[in-house]
Symmetry: C2
Subunit: 352 residues, 2 copies
């Protein structure tokens, strides 16, 4: 017999991208930032004292909230800190959804959303994107209580303009919370953060993993009006962010100069890599994230993925019907991207 | 209107103990270890590199699991790492309980359990302890799917012998998981960890917050048979433990020599403080934790709590009917305990 709830017994857990232990591989599979975090982060970590570890941390991570609020032009009461952006997604599904209160999102998108729905035993309404990843009109009539739009979207890297998401928030008012997952927004040209001032039903999710090179730290935050933040706090673990993570994330977000330079480097490489992949015959979606979604028609994407793996280069491939002809490739350093392009040239020429 | 589920809308969040920002207060209210963590922990933290922060951490925190498995004489497959023990409680309630699958636990106990039940919208069956905090026989017939016993119990500090919990596990087999919350077991004389080898339905919860002086780090772990661990992994956040916390917690658990000396110091102070409180006229429960549960009949516990606060000494008081005549006092350093005793002498003599 199983002690687990039926929905848990039946479900498979989320499958995170492969994390090779060998530091020598070219790792372009889980969208880590290829450049190191600000030196201020390591300084903050080295200054941690035994006394800070001995005591419980600040439950609401006030130091970070104050710093982020100032940068965003909001109040600390608009911000909730989480142990990685995934925790906020988990909390939102838990706070709003159940068997009679569905979750909705366009697909293909971040593959954690359906896993969270299974965990919560709530219906997941999946509305397909069109080929250009435009916002599906049907999201409005989905009758969900929580609507998630990943923007820039993973794995496509595409964006939906702020005006369209503002319109969606307006149409969903009184019916559904609109959670805009901006995990990759640091690499885009615009954010929807100002929508939280106008719409009572908008939550913005931010992550320190990508733009701030801190995937190993687990730190993210949610932005919304005070009333939504208060409700989300009820399902928050009391001390979800640890003392070191709070200090490190605060140091990172305060160093906006370093951050902006880092982002520019990635945007430059993104442009270069897009050009090179296109020259090789890939169709590359216009990306506003730190990865590219690339389609190749002359060989199976899975074969290219396997051959790259054989050369110690990891990209992401999913065997799902709607995306199995594509690869998602993280924008790496110039050196990593060159290795990838050279390997792809070999693979393509051998097949030809 | 509210977008939140009805159970979330109605509930109040968990109220963590007050965390004063002034480092000068005598803080005996949230059971932190008064001594610093092993120097190996700070060394591990100072050795963290930007590369470790840039990449996602090991999803299962393998380094810690291997170290803990060796110390406990178990396999790494018996261990799941969590972002503080509270996360495991949260995951267990989520994995086993729902509207038709209740949670049961004896009371008074850790006040997070009913909050988690409200969050999950599952019935919480509370079985009162007797005056000596013996295991209530009614737990067996509660028809819960998850039974939690905090052992040593908070706030009483009392323990239930391993044999009685083995018997309970036996009787609950096929009906309920028995989660033994051993957050304070490092200060006790025996652990129930070996029960996981014999009983398919036992989960042991451990914390690095108390015994290892790492409340600020957020690191705990669960111990159970492989099948329960696999199921719990489905509701675990992929990267719930961060790279720094994994390195620090691993360094802490490996330094068993330092750990044992630290524990002995606290046990010695616990004995001394128990004697002094008894001399002052308090009735003190026999404690196997790093705190004392003390009853005073000549003055209201709330008044003593407030007067201590006026002297910058924080202990824990709850206005619940069954425990409002008692205070929970963390065992501090000799110096802190002396300050507490001197303050209590003053308070008592002024009232008399």
């Amino acid at each position: 017999m199983s002690y687990f709830r039926e929905n848990i017994e039946k479900m498979a857990g989320y499958e995170p991208g492969f994390q090779p232990k060998d530091p020598e591989v070219v790792k372009l599979n889980t969208n880590e930032n290829p450049y190191p975090a600000s030196p201020e982060v390591l300084r903050a970590i080295k200054n941690i004292t035994a006394e800070q570890l001995r005591r419980y941390p600040a439950p609401a991570a006030d130091a970070f909230r104050d710093a982020a609020a100032e940068i965003l032009g909001l109040s600390a009461e608009n911000i909730i800190c989480v142990n990685g952006g995934d925790e906020l997604l988990n909390m939102a599904v838990r706070a709003f959804c159940d068997e009679n209160h569905p979750l909705a999102y366009p697909v293909p998108t971040y593959s954690l959303y359906p896993v969270l729905a299974k965990m919560q035993n709530c219906p997941a309404i999946e509305i397909p994107f069109d080929n250009e990843f435009n916002l599906p009109a049907k999201l409005v009539s989905a009758e969900a209580v929580l609507t998630i739009v990943c923007n820039p979207n993973a794995p496509s890297g595409t964006v939906i303009p702020k005006e369209e998401l503002a319109q969606l928030a307006e149409e969903l008012k009184g019916k559904s919370v609109l959670l805009i997952d901006e995990a990759y927004v640091d690499f885009a040209e615009e954010t929807c953060v100002e929508l939280v001032k106008k719409y009572e039903n908008v939550i913005i999710l931010r992550s320190m993993s990508k733009g701030y090179s801190l995937a190993g730290l687990r730190f993210g935050f949610g932005i919304a009006n005070e009333s939504l933040i208060k409700g989300l706090n009820k399902v928050k673990d009391s001390y979800n962010a640890d003392a070191i993570a709070i200090a490190a994330a605060t140091a990172a977000i305060k160093d906006q100069g370093y951050f902006k330079k880092n982002i520019e480097k990635i945007k430059k490489e993104r442009k270069r890599l897009t050009g090179q992949l296109t020259d090789l015959g890939f169709e590359v979606y216009p990306s506003r994230a730190n990865f590219l979604f690339a389609k190749y028609t002359k060989q199976r994407a899975m074969d290219i993925y396997e051959k790259l793996k054989g050369k110690n280069i990891y990209v992401r491939y999913w065997a799902y019907p709607d995306i199995k002809d594509k690869l998602r490739i993280t924008v790496g350093t110039a050196e990593q991207n060159d290795k990838l392009i050279n390997a792809l040239k070999e693979i393509i020429s051998q097949a030809g």
